[in-house]
Each structure stands twice: as structure tokens, then as C-alpha cells.
Symmetry: C2
Subunit: 302 residues, 2 copies
């Protein structure tokens, strides 16, 4: 269905053998990259992920630990003779940055880089593919920072096997029932769609929220999300730092997950000062039990 791979979970600077922010989300034949800290291309290679399959890149904000890996990744794609265009979404300034890089490196990429500036004050639709849509929404940080939500589209309905077995449904009716219509048989009997069809899989969703201070509005943007990634730069013992720097604590992240009615919470973007990540789990779990640590290399199937 979909798979999330954690590429980096360190805040600001590499420490304790942790790498910088990047998540790869594979869905419906697409590879979506969220943030691209320095070394992201190495992590993709480490975890045997194809660089060329990445079709869209979403940058949350323009602090170096979230986008300094872009030039190298794009340059490597070019050296691998990528032809397929790539879509890159991110805040104002991203275009100037990529132009400056290409200018100074005198490089002409082998593929088209379509840059889309994200500048939203509310949840806003960004793009869609056959199986999913992506939305952006504002976060609360020291510079413009945006969260992203991947929402899988509704699946076509399946006609219940028992009903197919016991009724002689004309072929022309199959698609109509799968599209939600009630079924009327030759005798005029009406079978309500909800009684004869069902959705075998619920659409999943994934939200990527970093960097941000505690910002309860997020819950409105991602209500009932399947998997929420929320930054936890600090523990509650450093709450003052978190407030001053517009970052979140593990408690903050758990509260956002609870408010959002999320199914699962994954936490990362840990400050270099912490070597033991279990303390984050200890702080978040009492508030939101379905919490896990974004360990690098971790793959989560949705």
C-alpha cells in the first residue's frame, strides 16, 4: 500500500551518529521525499532506495539541516542521466537557491526541475496523482515552515463475495455497483449499495510536521491521519528552549497526535544534546500510547 522510510532524525547538526532530516514515502508507484538534509543521497543509497524513482520533493523550510542535501541529490540524478522531470515544493527562496547553485556549478541538469513555491495560510491542495493527493499547511516556526499531508484517495468498492455468489448480476452492473450505485434486479428489487458493497481497504494518510513549536491548529489540518510524524527537538525539561526556538517537546507532539485523532505517532528531529532517545518515548507514550521513535532505516508499512 504505502511505505515510510526514515532517512534522518537529527535536529540542526549531525550528532550521536544521527543524520539530518529526510523521509521517503512510497505510495502507488511514487517515491516522495520530505526534506533533504545534507547526506540524504547517501542515506537513500544506504537503504537501497532508488534516487531516480523520486518524483516529488517537499521541503518544509529553509534551514540548512532540511535542504542542504538538495544540490548533491539533484546533481547525482543528473549524472545518472535522469530524464523524467521532478517537482520540488518549498518556501520562497528555494528557486533562488537552486538557480544560484546551477549558476555557480555551471551545471545544466539532464532533467526539468519544476519548482513550486509553497506559501499557504491554511490547508491547501498542492498536487495529486492517480492514487493520492498532497496538501500543505502552515506550521509555527522562526521562519516560514510548512507541513505536508499525503492523503490516499478512496478506493473503488468491492461487491461482497456472498452477494455475487447468490445473485446473477449482469456484467454491465458491476462497475455501477463499484461506483456506489444501488442495484435493481430484473424483478425491480432494490439492493442498497451499503448492503452489497464494501471498501476492503481504508485510504491511509501520512503527515510530515517539522519544524514547529506547539501549534494545535495542525489537528484541524490532519484530522484522523493514519501516521503523524511530528518533531520533538526537546524534552519537557527543556520546555523554555522549545518555546524560545519554536520547537516542540515530546509532550507537545503527543498532544498534537491526540488532538488530531491520529492512529500512530512517529517522533524525530532530536537535538544533539540527547543521546538516549527512550526518554522521548517515556514522555510521549503516557499521553499518546501509539508512539514510536523515528529510528534511521526504520520502514513502516501502511
Amino acid at each position: 500500500m504505502a511505505k515510510l522510510t526514515i532517512l534522518g532524525n537529527s535536529a540542526a547538526l549531525p550528532a550521536n551518529n544521527r543524520k539530518l532530516s529526510a523521509h521517503l514515502f512510497e505510495i502507488d508507484g511514487h517515491s516522495l521525499l520530505f526534506d533533504c538534509g545534507e547526506g540524504t543521497q547517501f542515506q537513500l543509497i544506504n537503504f537501497k532506495k532508488s534516487l531516480l524513482k523520486i518524483s516529488k520533493i517537499f521541503i518544509t523550510h529553509l534551514h540548512g539541516d532540511h535542504f542542504y542535501g538538495l544540490p548533491g541529490l539533484l546533481s547525482t540524478m543528473s549524472m545518472l542521466n535522469r530524464e523524467k522531470a521532478i517537482d520540488i515544493y518549498g518556501p520562497k527562496g528555494l528557486m533562488e537557491f537552486l538557480h544560484a547553485i546551477n549558476e555557480v556549478s555551471k551545471s545544466e541538469p539532464s532533467f526539468k526541475q519544476r519548482i513550486h513555491i509553497v506559501d499557504v495560510e491554511n490547508k491547501q491542495f498542492l498536487c495529486e496523482e492517480k492514487g493520492f493527493k498532497v496538501y500543505a499547511f502552515p506550521l509555527f516556526h522562526s521562519v516560514a515552515s510548512f507541513g505536508y499531508l499525503v492523503q490516499q484517495k478512496e478506493f473503488k468498492l468491492n461487491i461482497k463475495k456472498s452477494f455475487v455468489h447468490n445473485n446473477d448480476i449482469p456484467i454491465k452492473w458491476f462497475q455501477r455497483i463499484k461506483s456506489g450505485e444501488d442495484y435493481i434486479d430484473n424483478s425491480g428489487t432494490v439492493f442498497l449499495n451499503k448492503d452489497i458493497a464494501e471498501q476492503l481497504h481504508s485510504p491511509i494518510s501520512y503527515a510530515y510536521c517539522t519544524d514547529t513549536g506547539y501549534f494545535p491548529q495542525i489537528a484541524d489540518y490532519i484530522n484522523a491521519v493514519t501516521l503523524l510524524y511530528h518533531e520533538t527537538t526537546f524534552l519537557n525539561s527543556e520546555k523554555e528552549d522549545a518555546i524560545a526556538k519554536k520547537h516542540s517537546t515530546a509532550e507537545d507532539a503527543a498532544n498534537i497526535a491526540k488532538l488530531s485523532n491520529a492512529n500512530n505517532l512517529i517522533i524525530g528531529h532530536f537535538s544533539a544534546r540527547y543521546s538516549d532517545l527512550n526518554d522521548f518515548l517515556k514522555e510521549a507514550s503516557p499521553i499518546f500510547p501509539n508512539t514510536i521513535i523515528a529510528t534511521e532505516g526504520l520502514e513502516i508499512d501502511l
Copy 2:
């Protein structure tokens, strides 16, 4: 005396678990960084080298694999509250690149970054410290590319122990003899300096030459160098590629070492197409026996 540490040896893109170009040369209390490919800060941390001790950075040319690690390294130095100014040497365009990065990241570094543009047509003095001088010289590549030579200064002479032991030299004469003067004793006897003083250590030198095609002029710039690093992107079987892309083969590098009367040759910047690096050694050694492979993490004491 001096120590070279290899941080990365891969050409163009990371492959076969090899990282991008960077050498750390520690001499006389200074840490000099040559090139700064993406991930250089991770390699410095891996090999337990202090980021804050780096006092000068030398960039050979503006292809991404040689300088895309600069923004992250400088940003981390800033987050570690570096105060000491840093000197960065490199080709035209470097200043615009660093300004664009600071502009888009809205970052104000915690320390002064002094950028020195290198644009030389011959060997030219760049800078000096108490114990060494650094020179730049042109290489031969598809964009402006410069080699660097670190030349340790001459040491003061030592008076031979046997002479000190057998003669009653007045204290005021010690510095004069160490500075190269002949010694005249009370009886008027002249002792030639070369007979009574000696240099216990020869000054060492280190040259960093990448990227470049075969360019015999290099030999004039680095004559009798102690340790020559020369790129070997290709093997001789890909000589045509080497010529077309203005890179060198292992044979080219060995020939430059021979022409330069170098003591030792270290080769790196291997194309991703090669997984077995021993072939490079097999090609270079018959021409220049004192050749070694620039394995990442290798430390060489000079």
C-alpha cells in the same frame, strides 16, 4: 610533524560506499581542509577530527562533488558557536555561492568567513603561518581548477651534539650557529657551519591536485614534493574518457609523480564504475613504486 587524513575519495557521485572529495591536512597546530564534498562534516566527525580547529579551507573548483559540503560544515561551525574567523580559498563564484546560501537560509554566521578568490595562471603564494606556506597553481580541467601546495618552512639548524660536547661554545654563539653562521673560536679557528650544524628534519610538503587532466606543468609547481595527491578518475582502459572529460588515469598520475620527483604518491577520486581499487595500484606502481590508494580514514604521518 604533519598528518594527512583522507575523508573522501569518490569522483562525481557517492558510490561503492565511497564519499566525496575532502582531505584534512594537520600541520603546526593548523587544520587545513582541501575540498569539501557533501558529507565532509560527517566524515570529520566519523574520524574524530575537530570541526572548529579547521582554520583554512581550500576549494579546487566549483563542481558540486568538491564543495557542496561547505554550507553544512559552516552552518554546523556556527551552531557550535565558533568565534574564530575562517579563511576560504577558491575560484570565482565561491563568494556568490556562500552569499546566496546565507541569504536564503537567513543565517548570520557566528564567525567571520574571509573568502579569497583564487585565479592564478602560474604558481602563486597564497598565505603563510609560522611553520608553513601555501601556494596555488593552475590545473587542467573543464572549469577553472586549482591545485594547492603546502610547503613547510625551513627548520632552524641543530648544532651537532658531538661538537657541543667537545667544544666550549659561548652561549651567545648558539643562535648564530643555528642561523647558519660559521663559528670562530677564541683562537681564531673557523668551523664551517656545514660541519658543525645539521638539519634534523627536512621540511615536508604536500600537494593536492584534483580535478585535472594530464598536465605536466604540475611538475614545475611541486618539484620534490614529499607527498603528492593526484586524481585518478579512470584507468588507462578509459583513456579516451579521461581525455574527453579532462581527468587523469592512474598512469597519468604516476607520470606526474615521476616528473615531479615526488617522494610519495597517493591516488584517489575514483570513478563510480570501479569497485576494485587495486587495479589503480597495478597501473601506477610500475611507473612510480611509492604509490598508495587514498582509502577513506587513512592517516599518513609526514
